[in-house]
Structure formats: C-alpha cells, structure tokens
Symmetry: C2
Subunit: 363 residues, 2 copies
DNA sequence: CAAACTCCCGGAAACGTTTACAGCTATCGG
DNA sequence: CCGATAGCTGTAAACGTTTCCGGGAGTTTG
C-alpha cells in the first residue's frame, strides 16, 4: 500500500531508486554503496539494509549499457556433439573464468548463414568477444568476421591475409604423422575416410593424405578413399562402402567420430583391429580412449588451441588496437592399441594387457 | 575531420544519432525506419542509405534495456561432455530457435556454487529465461531457483512442493525396466555401477535398483554394487574393482558413459558381452549405439524432456503469472546386442548380423 | 469550402545504471 | 579564530535505443 510505484521497474522489481528511497539517500549514494566505493558508515548501513529488505539485484543490462562491457564471452562451434569441441571448450572456459568472465557456447550446426547471423546478432554488444571455429568459410563470412563490432578470434585455417586473430594447426602435417606411422608398421593399402570436401578441414586432410602417400611412393588407389561427413553414422556407412569394394590393411579417419564409426563397421564385418586392419583417427579426443581397442589418433592440440585462442581474445578485449596475430599449434600422434606396432594380444585369445600399454604414447 | 564527434558512441561506432544526422531526420524517424515501421518512401531511402554508408549496426544492449527482452535463453548443465546433454540441448535449441530466440549453453561442472552464481549473475537480465538441470540440489539452491528474477525451468527431480516449473522422468521405474529385462533373460547375479550417492539421480537409481531386485525376490549382494561418478573413467575403474571381487552375469550402469567404461573393463578382462555378462546402460544416448556391441540402454526421454522444458519456458516467458507446472516423461528400454535376449552371434565366431537387429527395439 | 481524418515527423521521456561535478559539513593547521 | 582541505552527498548527464505524444501537411468528406 505504501509502495512508491514510480520507484520500481516495469515488472515491479526493485531498482536502485527503490533502494535509495527506502534508505533515504540519493541514487548516487545508493549506487556507490552497492559498488563498495565510498559512503559513510551510516549510509552504508542504511543502503545495505534497504537493499536486503527489498531484495535488490542489479540489472545487468543497464549496467552494461553504462559500462560498455558485459563480462560474457561466446564460443561458436559447429557441433557440440563432437568431443573435440568439448575439449576445446573446457580449455577456453578455464581461461575465461580466470578473468572473471563467463563463457557461453553456441552451436551453429555448420549452417554458414547461422554463423554469420550469430556474428551479427550476438556480437553486436551482447558479448565482449567471441571465439569461432568455422568449418566452412566464404568471403561474406570472412568480412563479417573482420569487421565484427566486437573482438573475434578464429580457430582454424584461414586465408593468409585475413586480418583476424587466428589460432591454427597444421592438419596436413598431422595426416602425414598418421600415414608415416602406418607405413612404418608395414601397412601399404591405407584407406582414408574423410569429411566433406567443401569444408576447410576436409580439403586440408585430403591434400595431406595424397601428399603423404606420394612421399612414400605409394600409388593412390581411389577405391581406398571415401567421403561422408564428420559424424559417426557417416563414418560407419562410408567404411561399409569402402569394405564392400576393396580390402585395406589400414584406415585413417579424418576425425575420431568417423574413426569410431569405422571401428564399428570393421568389427561388424569380422575384421580384427589392429591385426587385419590398423585404425588411426584424428583429434585425439576422449572418445578415442573409450573404445576397445583404444584408438590411435592424431592430436591437433584442441585444448591448447582453445587455451591460446582464449588468451588472444582476452588480450584483444583489453587492447583492441593490437595488430592481428596468428599462432600455430603443432600436431602429434598418440599411438594406441588400434594401430599398435607391437601387436597387442587379440580379444578372442584372452584378455589383452591393455592397461599399461594402451594409455597412449605420444610419438 | 567533418565527423560530428557527439553523434557517435564512445568507441567511435555509429549510433542511431549518426544515422539520423546523416540522413537529415530525427532519431525517432531513423529508429522507425530501421525497425521497418512507417516512414515516407523518401525518408526510408535516406535513412537506409545513411545507415549503409556509416555501417550502422544497432546496439543490442541498449535495445534490450528499452524493450526488457534480450532474445536469449540459457541452458545450464553439469557437463557438456555427457552426450545426454547434447541430445537435450539439440531438442531445446530447435524449440527455442523457432521462437526467434537464441540458445546459450553454460557448463557448471557440477559445482553447486557455480550454478547458484550463474543463476544470480546470468539471470539478472542477461537472458529472458533459463533451463537448468542440476544434479545436486540444496535448499539454498532451491530458493535461488524459486525467486530467480527471470523464468526458470528445472529438468530433473525436485521436491514435490517446489514452486518451479519442472520436467522430470521416473528413473526408478527406468531402473526397474532394465532389471526386469535382465531377469527375464535369465540373469541373476546383476551388478550395478552407480554415480555418487550425494546426487539426486544417484540416490534415485540406487533406490530403484534395490526395489527392483527385492520385487524379484533376488537377495542383494552388496559386492555387486559399485559407486564412482557419472564419467567414463570412473565407470571403468569401478567395474574393474567389481570384477576383481565377484562375478556378475549382468551389469546395469547408471548412465551410458559409465556403461561404456564398463564395457571396456569387461572386454579387457576377457569377458564376452553379452554371453558372459549382459550390459545395460541408461540415457540411451548416441554413444550407446556407437559401441560394439551396441549397448542396450534405458531411455529417460532426454530429447523429449528438453523439448517440453523449452516449451514450458517459452510459455512462462510469455505469461509469467502462470502457476508452476510439472510434467513427466516416461522411461523406456531399448534392447540391443549388449543384452540381446536372442543371443547374437558372438564376435570370435564371425561377423554378427547386428545391422537389422541391433538398431534398438523399444520394450 | 470547412471540417474531419490520415499520415508522417520531431521533441522528449523512458529503460536502470554509473559517474563527473559541485556543494556542503566538519576537521585541521596556522 | 579563520581559511584550507578532506570526505560525503545529491543533482544531473550519460550510455543507445524505442515509443508516446502533439503538431503540421495533405487528403477526403459533408
């Protein structure tokens, strides 16, 4: 009944005016106390009491409008279902959190318009900065990235002259590590299950595979190459198609999801892994270590790339005038049971001693 | 040189004032044109041109302050690495997107203070609403949920009298489905690998397991119960401990991550699945179908729960005066090769015909 | 031809904060 | 005992947008 209607916000929640009125001080004093700067002991007491009584909680939007910062950082990835992004996200989150900010994740589903829309919409001030890991890049997309109103860091391959902070790896070299390893362990008919050839990683891995084979003087058999998308189901069906027409002694997969699909297809077809077919995935995610046998996988340093990207972003938020920077994280190969050089005891013949030997050796 | 300094924002970006001045109209007219409401053809032309020339992009924060809505909805989950949340997220995303809003995901890492802080911080106006799926609930937490400044929907078990929108399932009944199935296929020494007993799902599943066994007149052997957390690694080590001291003919796991860990441990220990040990997981995620053999799993309808939660949230955003509602999604069991009643051809004896029969039959 | 009506426009208020500035009181030094 | 200084306080402007409202011009109607 005594409530001063005009002191509270549209939806009836208390504002700094409510608190100030109740404490009998000006909104300036109330604001200062609430932010812990200045105020006489008596004022502080009254304001604190008033705030507690009415259950005041500051409106973050209004605060942001004034301070020009939201304390939020966004990460946009194609598919949260892919564990590689989970690992990247964890690394980013820990850096971002240590700066007192919060991380928001957005899944674009690989639809490029979605991603551009996100850049335009989310980025126009809802967040202080954004990390994006696109798998397809168009010119349109690129300009949206370059003149984004908030700082942006790109994780992934980008044109050399793009004026955007960029953290990348060398996935062609990563593919080479896998092929070298397979060749070194005596494999010659090496199959390759790739993702779409209209994606940046798809192109790079295809080129890397062909180059690596060439370098070893192995003639390429196109029958040994299959393309799906970067998901489990496609990896499985692509491998089924491949097995139906030819007979590899090794399989390299463009990511771990594909590799898991391939493993399923191989086992279902009665092939023994690694005895009949050695299997190597890419991204070295948790998923690779979950499988039985554990999968060898090429690490593209996703956690490290995430960490670096977050650091670049925080630096740029602090000083937007920095010149565009580019960092590179080297790939490495984790050799596990699925391509073990020392052939592990196969399943039918008894329990393999996987524990000590299967935890992954970085080559 | 000619730039009117006062027309642009602090960081030099154009505002609606810039556009209005350049077009020679008032900010009111500029705003109207930019929002597509009214304006003479001539004004529209001038404003559009001016906006394009200066590269105007509206400040979302200022807009939100005025309109009291951000167009953003948040989802807070414990662990993005758990595929069950991925499925839930996808369902939520599609509902949320169809309302023209965007979904932001936040991982709390299961730390309860983190989650409360998120509620307080993110929720004080950065988002229009929030879906949260807590695995631990304290009183403190609950009050934070109840008097959150923005609409909140909880996915998961909650006290009966909690005045919060709530979508739940009956995980005790879900456990019963699994146990019934295992008993019906002749298993008697049924092991159970659970998550922490200080979590809501952990408690419910423990109670459900004991009740189900009792109902079948099977005496509980505590040796057959192991507890870890809800992750893969814990599932694996817990299963190793269990196998070291006893000899189950079936294993029920409190979620799919644990079940995958258990599968690894079983195979590494030389047990055949399902011949020696039948295996059933819970959540029925993509992961269950990725394994070889494919895992039977109790579906708790996570996608459906996500969809319903999103709908409840949108309704409450539209009308905050709605009374608290509660919806329930029934569990169901997907029987696959890992517990096949008709024992599938085991691996050593040749390729099993998993494809037609292993795609999951809902019991 | 006057009155009523439509349409468009600009001024100004509002959203809820933070903060620059100026005024006030009280204390301290000379 | 008086002037300088330090510490609080309140007024008001600012952040960038949307929108209410009143006035003016042009069009239709009686």
């Amino acid at each position: 009944m005594g409530r001063k209607r005009l002191q509270e916000s549209a939806d009836g929640r208390p504002t700094v005016h409510t608190v100030a009125a109740r404490a009998g001080v000006s909104i300036a004093s109330a604001s200062r106390v609430l932010n812990g700067i200045g105020g006489s002991p008596e004022t502080v007491r009254k304001v604190r009491a008033a705030a507690a009584e009415v259950g005041y909680v500051p409106n973050a939007i209004a605060r942001s409008l004034q301070s020009q910062r939201t304390g939020l950082v966004a990460l946009a990835v194609e598919d949260i279902g892919n564990p590689v992004y989970v690992e990247m996200m964890r690394a980013i989150e820990s850096v971002v959190a240590s700066s007192g900010r919060q991380l928001l994740v957005h899944a674009t589903g690989g639809r490029i318009d979605n991603e551009t829309a996100l850049l335009r919409r989310l980025a126009n001030r809802y967040v202080d900065g954004m990390i994006v890991s696109p798998i397809r890049v168009t010119d349109d997309h690129l300009t949206a990235l370059v003149d984004s109103p908030v700082p942006v860091v790109v994780v992934g391959q980008l044109d050399a002259d793009a004026a955007v902070d960029n953290v990348r790896t060398d996935s062609r070299h990563g593919v080479a590590l896998a092929v070298d390893h397979l060749v070194a362990t005596g494999r010659r008919r090496i199959g390759f299950v790739n993702g779409p050839l209209d994606t940046v990683p798809g192109i790079a891995r295809d080129a890397g595979f062909r180059a690596a084979l060439l370098r070893h003087g192995i003639q390429l058999d196109e029958d040994l190459i299959e393309v799906g998308d970067f998901q489990y189901a496609a990896g499985r069906t692509a491998t089924e198609r491949l097995l139906a027409r030819t007979d590899p002694d090794a399989l390299f997969c463009a990511n771990d999801l594909i590799a898991v699909g391939a493993l399923h297809a191989l086992l279902a077809a009665g092939r023994r892994v690694p005895q009949d077919v050695a299997l190597v995935g890419m991204d070295d995610t948790e998923l690779a270590r979950m499988m039985f046998p554990q999968l060898s996988s090429v690490s593209l340093g996703s956690a490290e790339r995430g960490r670096r990207a977050a650091e670049l972003l925080l630096q740029r938020i602090a000083d937007p005038t920095l010149p565009p920077r580019r960092e590179q994280v080297p790939p490495s190969l984790a050799v596990r049971a699925s391509s073990g050089a020392t052939l592990p005891v196969p399943w039918p013949d008894g329990p393999p001693t996987t524990h000590p030997s299967s935890e992954g050796v970085t080559a």
